[in-house]
Symmetry: C2
Subunit: 110 residues, 2 copies
DNA sequence: TTCGTTCCTCTAGATTGTCTAGAGAAGTGG
DNA sequence: CCACTTCTCTAGACAATCTAGAGGAACGAA
């Protein structure tokens, strides 16, 4: 019925995926792992959320996909940021700061 | 097609409404005004978002509604927090800090 | 060889909160 | 009487995430 515990805020997934790929190209599983790790287990990215999101980002031209082989000798689709993705990341990060700052102000007033 | 500018993050509306009502009971229009003001115009709460949200919060027992007359001599529905709403606000605020902290960490890594 | 486990990708359908785009009532001032 | 402001409300569209699956391929152990 209700939502679980620390779900993603809708709209932040794109941001954190783009930001992850700005570090280096990664495949899906790696992205999920990275996000879970850096968020200190706050976010556990759903595969049913991640893969559609990656497709969406490819479709919008913000990331690029390429099949490769991992260190473990497995097929994996590696994604990396395009120039448009870089710009998009900048905008989304700025918007995040704006929005989270606004929420913080509302929380601290009164 | 796309979303506008600084829309709400899905899930934050409940939080900021509850937080607003923790200051004092308010009617819908007043809540919208308060949020827009305190957020420094980052959030412009849609009436089509606000009223369904208020109904949702009433249904969950977190706020209580009561018809009154405003200072301007107009009928308005005043909402205020219930005890359960207080508790819920605490949880949602804590969750917000958790989540926004996690996003911030992801943004600053790398 | 077979079996379980890990790595890794992917999809359909439901859910749900927000947005768009309206409507409308009632008081106020010109 | 008319325009404007205040204030509430709804239907339907939309879009991102979640649930709940499926499945392939490499590896190590038995």
């Amino acid at each position: 019925m209700g939502r679980k515990n620390a779900d993603l805020l809708q709209g932040t997934l794109d941001l954190i995926v783009l930001r992850s790929l700005a570090i280096q190209p990664m495949h899906g599983w790696q992205i999920a792992h990275h996000i879970q790790q850096v968020s200190e287990d706050v976010f556990r990215v759903n595969q049913g959320s991640l893969y559609p999101a990656l497709q969406r980002l490819v479709r919008k031209g913000w990331i690029r996909a390429e099949w490769k082989v991992t260190e473990n000798n497995r097929r994996a689709r590696y994604y990396d940021l395009t120039a448009a993705g870089q710009r998009r990341l900048g905008k989304e990060a700025a918007n995040w700061r704006l929005v989270s700052g606004a929420v913080d102000r509302i929380l601290s007033v009164g």
